[in-house]
């Protein structure tokens, strides 16, 4: 649910990075944080366990620039990927404007990708959203690893609707900003279209 403030002339949007555990969601945000000018970002907050696994969420506020005199601000969130944190994932999806689904390219993680994608659909549906109507993009991460599926294979399984998708190596930053720009663009385009929040 975007928030338009006519007084401060700001548009605020919420983007959630979703995907199986250890696919690289937190790493995406860390790279964005490290490569953004101090004046364009707020503090990155990570509610993590002692072993640096995401416990509740990571949060990064980001300013992307102005459109027609309105400052665009994006609040980026990641969800905890492990299956047993499902209740927390549902909470973080509330009010979402756009989703980045981060897939782990390793063949051994294909099941986990599919399960997480189904989980995303289910959790959105519970809140009256439909993934098909919600702006979303897909990132095939860990392209540098051995034992990975080809992008074509991943696409066939995870992206039947043909939404924008990107290969990435989040640890080096490859593909990270391309992914972010694509989702920001989809979210703003959806707002322009007069929709928003995927459920209308």
């Amino acid at each position: 649910m975007s928030f338009i403030n006519y007084l401060s002339r700001e548009i605020n949007c919420k983007i959630v990075y979703y995907g199986p555990g250890l696919c690289g969601k937190t790493t995406n945000l860390q790279h964005i944080y490290n490569k953004t000018n101090p004046e364009a970002k707020g503090k990155m907050i990570s509610l993590a366990t002692e072993t640096e696994r995401t416990l509740f969420f990571d949060f990064l506020p980001l300013a992307l620039g102005e459109i027609r005199g309105f400052k665009t601000r994006f609040h980026l969130y990641t969800v905890p990927g492990q299956v047993f944190y499902d209740a927390s994932r549902k909470l973080i999806l509330k009010g979402v404007d756009g989703v980045v689904f981060v897939a782990d390219s390793q063949i051994a993680r294909m099941e986990a990708n599919i399960e997480s994608m189904e989980n995303l659909r289910t959790n959105l549906a519970e809140q009256g959203y439909s993934l098909d109507k919600l702006p979303h993009v897909i990132q095939y991460n860990k392209r540098d690893m051995p034992g990975i599926a080809s992008v074509e294979e991943l696409r066939q399984i995870l992206n039947p609707n043909g939404v924008p998708d990107f290969g990435a190596v989040a640890t080096t930053g490859e593909g990270v900003f391309e992914t972010l720009k694509a989702i920001a663009k989809l979210v703003l385009t959806e707002l322009k279209r007069g929709g928003g929040a995927g459920g209308r």
């Binding site: 992307l64 459109i67 609040h75 009010g95």
Partner: protein
């Protein structure tokens, strides 16, 4: 429609800011702020200079969301009030109309009793204003800055 969009106009903002300013004074609080349930800051007043209000807003919303999740598991309605007591700072969190969150940070210059009393009054007023806002947003004719945005505008955002 899962969630109506949150919009803030000058008229309502001034009313809200007035309530928040008054609450700081009347409750003798350090800081008062209002956020929506998604963690967007709506208004703030008091000694906000040293505070990272963006982070506070997101964490408070996360907190309310988590507590709301617990309430659901217990088949409770939302827990509408939370209070955390620290050594120097205390924080009082109030869910208003199940839509926005009113946060008061205060020290020992005041009392929980006074804060509660003032929050109650402010909540009632705020509830009315947010209902008015919602009605405006749901009016299909309400103005939007997006109608005039072109694809080029969006592209240009990323050309640096």
């Amino acid at each position: 429609m899962a969630n109506p969009q949150m919009v803030m106009y000058e008229e309502e903002f001034n009313l809200i800011q007035g309530i928040v300013d008054r609450l700081v004074r009347e409750a003798n609080a350090q800081v008062v702020f209002i956020i929506d349930k998604n963690g967007q800051l709506i208004a703030a007043s008091g000694e906000t200079d040293q505070l990272d209000t963006t982070s506070l807003a997101s964490l408070t919303a996360g907190n309310i969301a988590a507590t709301g999740g617990i309430a659901k598991l217990l088949r409770e309605n939302e827990f509408t009030t939370q209070f955390h007591e620290g050594e120097r700072a205390n924080i009082h969190i109030q869910l208003v109309g199940n839509r926005v969150i009113l946060v008061v940070i205060f020290d020992n210059k005041t009392s929980l009793g006074l804060v509660r009393l003032r929050v109650k009054k402010a909540s009632e007023e705020l509830n009315g204003i947010f209902e008015q806002l919602l009605a405006k947003v749901q009016d299909p004719d309400h103005e939007t800055p997006f109608a005039e945005i072109t694809d080029d505008d969006i592209d240009n955002l990323f050309n640096d």
